[in-house]
Amino acid sequence: MVLLHIIVNGRGYDLQVGADPHQVDPAHTLAYTLRETLGLTGTKIGCNHGGCGACTVLMDGVPVLSCLTLTVECDGREIVTIEGLSPPEGNDLDPLQRAFMDHGAFQCGFCTPGIILTAKHLLDRNPSPDAETVEEALSGNHCRCISHYQVVQAVLAAAGTEADRDED
């Protein structure tokens, strides 16, 4: 029996590799395992072919497209999904989540988890980015509603680099 050990949002999972419903099939993507096996549906699948960034999660702190990552490649890795940014008990939100709420930085919200995680990685590396750096970092995340302008403002606000912060 092959076992995979994956840490997701700080919790360790030992997953069996196999073809039964509770097991991880070698063909399963990380997106599938997160959503269908672990029930973490905050990770969204927009295209399932690496073209939209909706499924972005952090692997060892770095954004990856979970729809193009096989779960069997993730042994020993530490994954953070959108659910991992804010524990369900308690009211703590990541500053990025708070800023996205304050700026109304979403319309349909389907791209939001992937965008927030990509932005999280940016701010971890570069706590004071300018607008152009934010745009470059998010250029792999597709938003069809055009919330881009408010997203950039929200990321800058979360970084504390926005000049004119708009609070409610």
């Binding site: 927009g46 939100l93 989540q97 109304g104 745009e135 998010l138 069809r144 881009h148 302008y149």
Partner: protein, 750 residues
């Protein structure tokens, strides 16, 4: 900021904001029902073929497979206008048309089953061009529609539904014209509205005659009232999940509903049918194609003297509700062109490409994008500034127009000239406009040009909404309205409007789940009707609930109802806040005070949007790019400033402005296959491709409801293509006539 409300026009968190940023908002594919099966579809590789034989024996033997359906054993359900779309048919009419369905314990098992289905096709000649489809020797898609023409007139709009515009005497009109624009112009990018979340539904037969449908949708009730006659009138309950974008396309999901409901009935278990991205690209809803052949005459003073011609509306392989799109498009054209003489005929044509359906811009964007190039030619000949032209011609209070049902209406809204002029000033139009086919600036091989177009819609007050508002003794209010959330923030906007401004804090107002079982009738979030039509019903219901509360409080406070007011869960004598009672004292704890109201359609207050664009064209590479956009509108009153800004900026997407530049569904016209049906090849804007964007939003009170607001969100996409066409023409000094303006097209023009 006006003082009659604490919430209207001020930013605040959308009610679902926390769920969205924490990943807990529940979209269709996040739902799992007990015993639920997964559905997949076997699709045709041919654009037009007869299914001669289909064998499912091996498919049925695949472990985990619970139902396999073909045209031989699907229910005899029919949809479309008029009825002609079957769940599966013995003929396929586009590459991607359904041939067989499977439901299984897993998607993988369903796919394996379909791989084991054996199909024999007899390929038929296919047709992809509307003029070729109308030719006498063209292959015929349906026996019921000879000549590949679908009858005009949408039954819901009544016997006089617009199928074109016929008024006055066009021959006389052309004799009076100083300049005429003429030609054949195509807006046939058939782009994909492409919401990020693919369409999906779950169907579950709770009994032989009781179907529940969960759907990703902008209009939950369409899954009930549109599907009812198609399915032979079972009791349908429709529940909307959080919807990952729609732009019209998920107004209702016909084929996913058909497939899931048929499989769920066959398997006796709930079935989830979520389309893949490839299916969303190639087998769901494309923007209709539009071809205008005709003439427009104008006088030197900008008066339009005549419009005549033929409008070919390419609906693809089936007819969902194109008759409604033709009717609304013809109405919208009259709002932007005041003219006494019309002879415009719409014809709905079938072709062997993936079907068109409801898309943001609903008829008007298609008609105007194809027809305005002819107008621009006339304006160029007469040397008329387009801002002057639109100011003169956009419908004004007192003007009459025929709306979708063929009946005349008189505009009782506001004059949008001010919004147009303020937009022009802020954009710098008068400085940047140098005349037709004259660039604003030339900088080496970069040429800058500007363009403008307008659009409006009198459907902001369309159709029926019913609402119920319940005030509870704990000082809260619940709005019962069947309104889903697909990105416009409308559920939260209703909560701003319901409490009558001062009555309750926003966190004490809730809205019922979008479920047809527990709510009164709601037509849906179409035509930007959420603000006025839905809002109107909710406001009236809230006023009645308030009146019931005050009537109960009056004897307790020893005052007349008209002397009372209520704020923050307390009723008091106006001006004497010490003489008051909490709602719990007024109602007791075993009572609620409620009110119900119904909004009836009203087509007399059109909305308006102007888009100003500045483009730059590299004459070396042929690449055109938008540098700056300005949206100008008057909304009467801003309800939610963040939502409104987002909707206006949404003009690029949803097969909108960018269909003039680079966004299109590329069809191989030999095989009928889509060549760019994935997110890599279907190019679109990234975060690095954002032009400057400004909004000019006026607030002139409208005669709608107590907040005097109208919706405008839908129409931001519609003026985009023609405005960009004008701007690129001016930049190049060459009249451009086709979409999209790819580098190849631009280099050829040079």
């Amino acid at each position: 900021m006006r003082t009659d409300s604490r919430f209207i026009g001020r930013p605040s968190h959308r009610q679902d904001a926390r769920a969205i940023v924490t990943g807990r908002a529940e979209f269709i594919d996040d739902l799992k029902l007990r015993g639920m099966l997964y559905a997949r579809v076997l699709r045709s590789p041919f654009a037009h073929a007869r299914v001669v034989a289909v064998d499912t024996e091996k498919a049925e033997a695949v472990p985990g497979v619970k139902a396999v359906l073909t045209h031989k054993n699907v229910p005899d359900w029919k949809a479309g206008t008029p009825f002609h779309i079957r769940v599966l048919d013995s003929k396929v009419r586009f590459v991607g048309d359904g041939v067989a369905l499977a439901a299984a314990e897993s998607e993988r098992a369903a796919e394996e089953a379909l791989e084991a289905v054996h199909v024999e096709y007899e390929p038929l000649e296919a047709v992809f061009d509307v003029d070729e489809a109308l030719a006498g020797d063209a292959p015929q898609l349906y026996e019921a529609f000879p000549g590949n023409v679908v009858p005009g007139g949408f039954p819901l709009y009544g016997p006089d539904c617009l199928t074109g515009i016929r008024l006055g005497d066009v021959e006389q009109g052309f004799r009076e014209a100083d300049a005429v624009g003429e030609g054949t112009y195509k807006y046939e990018t058939v782009a994909n509205p492409l919401p990020l979340e693919p369409p999906g539904v779950i169907a579950h037969w709770e009994g032989p005659d009781r179907l529940t449908i969960w759907a990703a949708t902008q209009s939950a009730s369409w899954h009930r009232f549109v599907m009812l006659p198609s399915l032979g009138f079972p009791d349908i309950r429709a529940i909307a999940t959080q919807c990952g974008g729609s732009f019209g396309s998920k107004n209702y999901s016909l084929m996913p509903c058909f497939y899931a409901a048929a499989l769920a009935r066959a398997a006796g278990r709930p079935v989830k049918m979520c389309f893949s991205k490839e299916e969303q690209f190639g087998a769901y809803t494309l923007r209709p194609g539009s071809r205008f052949k005709g003439r427009i005459g104008i006088r030197k003073d900008g008066t339009v003297t005549a419009v005549s011609g033929s409008w070919l509306f390419d609906t693809g392989a089936c007819s969902d509700i194109p008759q409604a799109q033709v009717a609304v498009g013809c109405g919208e054209l009259q709002l932007m062109l005041r003219c006494a003489n019309w002879d415009l005929t719409g014809t709905i044509v079938l072709t062997n490409r993936p079907p068109s359906g409801v898309v943001r811009g609903f008829g008007g964007q298609e008609l105007e994008s194809a027809l305005l190039p002819a107008l621009f030619e006339a304006l160029e000949k007469a040397a008329i500034d387009p801002v002057d032209f639109f100011r003169k011609n956009y419908v004004k209070p007192g003007d009459a127009y025929l709306w979708r049902n063929g009946k005349p209406y008189v505009d009782r809204g506001v004059d949008y000239s001010e919004a147009l002029e303020r937009g022009a000033e802020t954009f710098g139009w008068h400085r940047k406009w140098k005349g037709w086919l004259v660039p604003t600036r030339v900088d080496g091989q970069t040429r800058i040009g500007v363009g403008v177009s307008v659009h409006g819609n009198a459907d902001v007050g369309e159709d029926v909404s019913e609402a119920h508002v319940r005030l509870t003794p704990d000082g809260r209010a619940v709005v019962h309205a069947c309104v889903s959330e697909s990105g416009s923030g409308q559920r939260s906007s209703l909560c701003r409007m319901a409490p009558e401004g001062r009555q309750l804090p926003l966190d004490r107002v809730g809205v019922s789940p979008p479920d047809t079982l527990v709510n009164p009738f709601e037509f849906g979030l179409v035509g930007s009707r959420g603000t006025w039509a839905v809002g109107g019903a909710v406001i009236s219901a809230a006023e009645k609930a308030r009146a019931a509360l005050l009537a109960r409080a009056a004897p307790l406070l020893g005052a007349g109802e008209e002397e009372l007011d209520t704020t923050d869960g307390r009723v008091y004598v106006r001006g004497r806040s010490d003489r008051g009672l909490s709602w719990s004292r007024v109602m007791g704890i075993v009572r609620t005070c409620s009110g119900s109201a119904r909004y009836e359609e009203d087509f007399t207050v059109p909305n308006f949007l102007a888009l100003f664009v500045e483009v730059e064209v590299d004459t070396g590479t042929g690449k055109a790019a938008v540098r700056e956009v300005l949206a100008a509108t008057d909304v009467g009153r801003i309800i939610d400033p963040q939502a409104l800004e987002g909707q206006l900026r949404g003009c690029f997407g949803a097969a909108g402005l960018d269909t003039a530049l680079f966004e299109e569904t590329v069809l191989d016209r030999t095989t009928g296959r889509i060549l760019n049906g994935n997110m890599i090849d279907y190019k679109w804007r990234t975060f690095r491709d954002l032009p400057g964007f400004r909004n000019v939003i006026l607030e002139t009170p409208m005669p709608t409801h107590r907040f005097g607001a109208v919706g405008v969100g839908e129409i931001s996409t519609s003026p985009g293509p023609s405005a960009v066409l004008m701007a690129v023409s001016n930049a190049l000094g060459v009249r451009m006539t086709g979409y999209p303006l790819t580098p190849q097209r631009i280099l050829e023009a040079l």
